[in-house]
Amino acid sequence: MGIEGGAMSQELIFKSGRPDEGWTKKYELGDDLVSYEDMISPEFFELEREAIFRPAWHYVGRAERVSKPGMYFTKEIEVLKSSIIVTRDDNKNVRVYYNVCPHRGNKLMWETDASKEVSGRCKTFFCKFHGIQFNTDGKVAMLTDTEAWLGSQGQDLQLAEVPFEVWNGFIFVNLDRGGPKETLQEFMGDKYYQGFSDYPFEKCTQRYFVRANAKANWKTMIDGFSETYHASTTHAKPFNSAPSEHLLLGAEHYGMDGRQRVMVYQDWGEIINFEYERLTQGFGTGPRIKFPDELHDLPKISNPTGLENWGSVSHKIWPQMFIQHYNPGWYVTYMMWPLAYNEMRFEVELFMPPAQNFSDELAQKAGIFMFLDAALQDFSLLEATQQGLEVQAFDKYPLTDEEVLVRHFHQSVQAVVSEYQQKQKANGS
């Protein structure tokens, strides 16, 4: 790629892959106006908690975060009022426990503020209350006041295990009462579960993790990232674009598979609008430097139409996880964790291969800083969305054909909640 550039914004036109009959008709989703009652109702949120989040498998972190025995991190899952410890035991197996001491029910691993996540490496998990220690296999390592325990109740203490599966290096947990109703494969669907095998996610060892809370429903962020239509307006400055009567940044492909959704768009990396981009080779879509070929060669599921100049593909994995690849082959995960009907925590993890030299590092940092500024533009809209919806000026809203994934997502949410309600009714509760 040349280092010189300077294209004008009108060249920032992506071919839209919209079929002749349109996406909405193609996927037979109907053209009704859509209600967003599901984003402003505390009662609906309580239903989502049990219908959607309780039975779901949740991504909590990459296996590389616990690459050595004793490494651990905690994860707060507020929507299920849960806290877990992910670790690797002395036999090098991943283990996941509830972050609770089996003695008096204290939260086990925390520092300063019990509601904050912690990570590190340790020989044993130490309870701050009575000093009992647990090995990474969950069994008691050291008991205190050993003479006072009744029978074997002290020695028998054991951390409670959380069902988990490791899928392509992504650790998923299930917090359903009585254990998972479905395996991760059944939950995800075969196509998704198998679709990424062989893709070397683990080569992207450089992890950047940022987060923020917003006073907005968790679905507002998912909706925001479910089309490219907003980009020429929301990101007008970084992409040197402008609101237009025409679709400037179209998606090549919108796809659906059960409750999973995918969005693909073309590459715009050759366009240099700013001096910083020329000098650093970092862009709003990430660094433009040589990455290993195997990171660029996406599996079929990530490039379903075989697009040669793919720019990005975003997998929206039910219910609240996105995995998004960017050319030349780095990826980002998003988690939209609900905290209340009108509050969420947004977590972004960016994964890159190791920089080989300073220029690589500079390009990565420039790409990440700009990417995060662009993401901040999306994120900063959410509270305005929530506040606007809560006015209830309208009962229903239209969605364009480019917003077909928004339509599909809200229909999926409604379907899962309705199914749960019917089951509850059948059970007489």
């Binding site: 940092k365 995060l372 500024d373």
Partner: protein
């Protein structure tokens, strides 16, 4: 105390070290937010003409072989990035219509 704070050929940038050669993305971005656009412009103008030279100079070294002066130079140029994005793209320190910035929880540190 060692008075050489940057590799000699980049010594003209030393007055910027105290304010700008911060460690980590959070501190680097916070400095952008707490500066005026004029302060950002001054730092931007000073570093920009040297970026390609810095790249060529540091690319000759493994990260493990960086001297303290090299690391400081590297941080100074990385810190230039969010400043350049403010100056060139947004024309103001803060992303328009945003009231906060991300909490940077974790990031790699190569040098």
């Amino acid at each position: 105390m060692d008075t050489i704070k940057l590799p000699e050929q980049f010594s003209e940038l030393e007055p910027f070290i105290a304010d700008w050669a911060n460690h980590g993305m959070q501190a680097q971005y916070d400095k952008r937010l707490s500066s005026t656009i004029e302060q950002l412009q001054e730092f931007y103008d000073a570093v920009k003409p040297r970026i390609l030279e810095v790249r060529a100079y540091l690319d000759d070294k493994d990260f493990d072989d960086y001297t303290e002066a090299d690391s400081t130079l590297g941080r100074l140029v990385i810190a230039w990035v969010p400043v350049a994005e403010a100056v060139e793209v947004f024309k103001q320190p803060r992303v328009p219509d945003s009231k906060m910035y991300w909490e940077v929880v974790d990031e790699p540190h190569l040098f």
